[in-house]
Amino acid sequence: MTTLAPSASRKKPRLSLARLTAYVVLIALSVIYLAPIALLVITSLKTLPEFTRDAISLPKSIGIDNFVEAWNKANFARYLLNTALYTAVSTVIFVISGTFLAVAIARRFVRGSGALFTLFLIALFLPPALIPQFQLILRLGLYNNPIGYVMLFLVNPIGIVILVNYIRTIPIELDEAAALEGVTYIRYVVQIVLPLIMPAIATVAVLHALGVWNELILATIYLTKADYYPITRGLIVFNGIYGNNWPVLAAAVMMIAAPMALFFILMQRYIIGGVTAGAVKG
């Protein structure tokens, strides 16, 4: 995985016109990036009359009334639990099945490994699967059913590609050593390969989990019963009802975005590693 720390061997910092310009540009851009986020935070702490009077002034007093109101008005606890379940189940199943797939493809243990790999590589370009997927789930009787919804997230072609590329960097001598010990295939994968590819597994798992956590369109199509809503769908429906009460809506968005910010700060390495994996090789 690529580390993104600034290279230490660059010249010593000294204030030049170029450096100053760089700072001005970066700070200007930061303002654009921070503005919507800052206003979300500010709005979530204001009362509705305060917001109506002046949308950008700071709140007079800091209270959590909006958060309490948002929490009480919609079943966010339920939505969060749903999202957590969908994310956890699909990520675990994908990572397990994906690991076995990737090891076999990377080491060419199954016939047609090269063709299989291509099958995952081209996924980015394929037509949207939306409509036949819906017909399939409908015919299986899994419409408006959490099982049907989770089924849609059990695969992730980009994740497979990342895993295969990572496993290929592990020396083949390892396999020979393992074979000399006489281990079975499953033990070889689980006890020898798995510990070595943990960084890639973490990256792929985090990327996949983020995708499921943030999914809105498929939730809109497949889950019409409020009890099954993930948090994304819950927020959109909440927006439809309380769309004019921005302080409460902002509080609702904050409650979801804040834990994600924390998660991002903790997992930044894996997330950025996933985005850049394999991106800069020739």
């Binding site: 076995f100 080491r107 997330i271």
Partner: protein, 309 residues
């Protein structure tokens, strides 16, 4: 590669363990994706137990040539291209520029990198709602700031062109971080000695970029070009959250969803699920992605060959 973990039935182990993942991929993703083509030749609807008929090229004929709707389809197609070109050009340029700035060992690099990447992880729902608040036309934050200068704007609720441009802005805000980190990773593969040598040869800042950085960044340039072009052709989630299905703003991806799932009037009531027709629209989008994707790859390869040769 030789298989070292036993013969006979033991040789079957990798096959058995590949099966679940592969089967899932075929059934849930690859199969449906390809079946879109088949559905595009039928009159499939969203209702269970309704017979499905083969209608040949009717859906395509309707999509391309029938009345006012086909004109809107063409406009959606053109809009998809405008969205793609605008987003790619700006996101690519900004991503590259910011990555170069962040590769100078400046103080606060880590903070800037984290901030610019942060929106990526929020997903379209939170990105969209955040900006809906920011752009709220009636006394919202940006409207307030503009009013200080006597300016006025309708933002997302106003005329289609203005709303469309704001969706582009949010799309770039949300995804520039991806372009940036890919360029940063690329920049870090360039050894310092190369810059050092160029400096000794008396290369200026611009020459350094033109002759050293830009050619050596080729892998990252290729990845970013392909990812951003394909991604922006297929993206429509922010349209869904920010403005809904509104005349004069639709792009192809949204059109596929809206016709297939009865969202063309903003609600499911009284709408039919025209899944066969939607599938035809999906195939049109696919052809567009394919044509542009192949052209991009060809041009990037040619550029790479020229740089190396």
């Amino acid at each position: 590669m030789r298989y070292l973990f036993g013969g006979g039935t033991a040789r079957l182990a990798p096959y058995l363990l590949v099966a679940p993942g592969l089967l899932l991929y075929m059934v849930v993703a690859l199969g449906p994706s390809l079946a879109t083509v088949v559905f595009s030749f039928t009159d499939a609807s969203g209702l269970p137990r309704l017979p499905v008929h083969f209608v040949g090229l009717d859906n395509y004929k309707e999509f391309l040539t029938l009345g006012a709707a086909s004109k809107e389809n063409m406009q959606a197609l053109v809009r998809t291209l405008i969205f793609c070109v605008g987003v790619t050009a700006i996101q690519f340029t900004f991503g590259l520029f910011v990555a170069i700035l962040l590769n100078q060992g400046l103080r606060g690099t880590k903070f800037f990198r984290t901030l610019f990447f942060f929106p990526v992880i929020l997903g379209v729902t939170i990105q969209g709602l955040m900006w809906s608040l920011f752009l709220y036309p009636i006394g919202g934050p940006l409207a307030t700031v503009l009013s200080w200068f006597g300016l006025h704007s309708e933002f997302l609720g106003g005329q289609p062109t203005e709303a469309f441009i704001w969706v582009m802005v949010v799309q770039i805000w949300a995804n520039m971080g991806i372009t940036m980190v890919i360029f940063l990773a690329g920049l870090q593969t360039i050894p310092d000695e190369v810059f050092e040598a160029a400096r000794i040869d008396g290369a200026g800042r611009w020459q350094m970029f033109r002759r050293v950085t830009w050619p050596l960044l080729t892998p990252a340039v290729n990845t970013n070009m392909v990812l951003t072009i394909i991604g922006s052709l297929q993206a429509w989630g922010l349209f869904f959250v920010l403005i809904g299905y509104r005349p004069g703003t639709q792009v192809l991806g949204y059109l596929v969803f809206a016709t297939a799932f009865g969202q063309t009037t903003g609600s499911t009531a009284g709408n039919t699920f025209r899944q066969g027709y939607g599938a035809a629209a999906g195939v049109m989008l696919f052809l567009l992605v394919l044509a542009i994707g192949i052209t991009t790859q060809y041009l990037l390869r040619r550029r790479e060959a020229r740089l190396l040769g």
